[in-house]
Symmetry: C2
Subunit: 228 residues, 2 copies
Amino acid sequence: MKPVDCENNREKRAAPPRAVSAAVIKRLPRYHRYLGELLREDRTRISSSELSRRMCVTASQIRQDLNCFGGFGQQGYGYNVRYLYQKIGELLGAEEHYSAVFVGLGHLGHSLVSSAMLERRGIRKLAVFETNPALIGTTVAGIPVLDSAEMETWCREKRVTLAILAVPREQALPCAEALSRAGVRGIWNFSDTELDLRIPGMEIENMHLSDSLLELCYRMRRRTGETT
Amino acid sequence: MKPVDCENNREKRAAPPRAVSAAVIKRLPRYHRYLGELLREDRTRISSSELSRRMCVTASQIRQDLNCFGGFGQQGYGYNVRYLYQKIGELLGAEEHYSAVFVGLGHLGHSLVSSAMLERRGIRKLAVFETNPALIGTTVAGIPVLDSAEMETWCREKRVTLAILAVPREQALPCAEALSRAGVRGIWNFSDTELDLRIPGMEIENMHLSDSLLELCYRMRRRTGETT
DNA sequence: TAGATTGTTAATCGATTAACAATC
DNA sequence: TAGATTGTTAATCGATTAACAATC
């Protein structure tokens, strides 16, 4: 596609600085992780080539990726570790202070509620929703367990933006729809089904544990096969 | 790279039927999941075009992907659901009956031990390893909790092939190395660090929960940004 | 200034899609 | 046989890598 040379064009470019591909976005958290490590090692600067060796990617790719978001580096010097970490963190919305609820308190749900990861990302854990009456009214890791029946109204009132979904497959879609109606904007989905395409306007990240395990099994088998 | 036309070439081709790309492999579990769904709906046959509509991919891609492993379909008919499900299941090693151990009994480790997913894939859960003396000697979901100090010897003796790693970051690498020495062939890694490149000869599948969460946060922020 | 290293454009590579001949 | 749909080759597209001019 050739750039049409009308005046508006310049404006358009400014707002969304050209669409960033999904491949690049998927790599951002990894950059963030490695920069965090460098920070812990008290490194102040790093070049794309040194980082590339650490991360086992090409230096070209690092420079190309980072440049999607603007010039974070400095010619002849490299990248300032703290600054770059900070910038990527901002891109990732690590400092947005989202409000989150959990849906489903099985083993997995329980462990996610108890995890410190969300706070570390500045996410507030407001409540857990469950259908089991034996659990409603209790607290888990200091978070109140509420009745799923109240979920939609409650989330709308509290302006919840993020939900962590760990319910059985059958309940996943109805739950997601209720969350969508309540104005929730993102779902981190641990239920073993896909919601992606069925709920327009909702950002969904599917954590398919079993897909991941199957992929591992495939690679293990393939490797054995090689020796045969 | 041009194929060198020596006699050996033919033989080489036969054994690994041409390398299958990582992109294709990553898609296999998803095909398996959708076929499982069709099976539950008692569908006997499906065409690539109908499946493509369901899965929101192109029919071309489906046919191309499946053909990496041989002709599973039939011209003019499509694919037999049960047969295809079975075949992909075999590819994924769903029926290999691997022996697995768990390492680390934090919240996440606990929920993984308690999950029924592994049995469903025909994987045997043999033991959990922990350093906390208060937990050693107990059982979780019927699985004995053993002392991590015994891990290497124990795994070698029992010919463990798969380990599920859910330990703090610092312990991840030493654990993985011990497992490698014990002859374990694959690690499903839930610790927040990468092992990939440091342990040759071991298949590793990293489940980076926090990377996944960060990616979701990025997309949520981006979407809000669009409206601005 | 000279050396280093980025930002960015051009070349390469691989993956996806389209097209169609083979065949059930 | 005619219709449908795969298997497979060719065309397109996008992502990665290489190269180098800009510049700190």
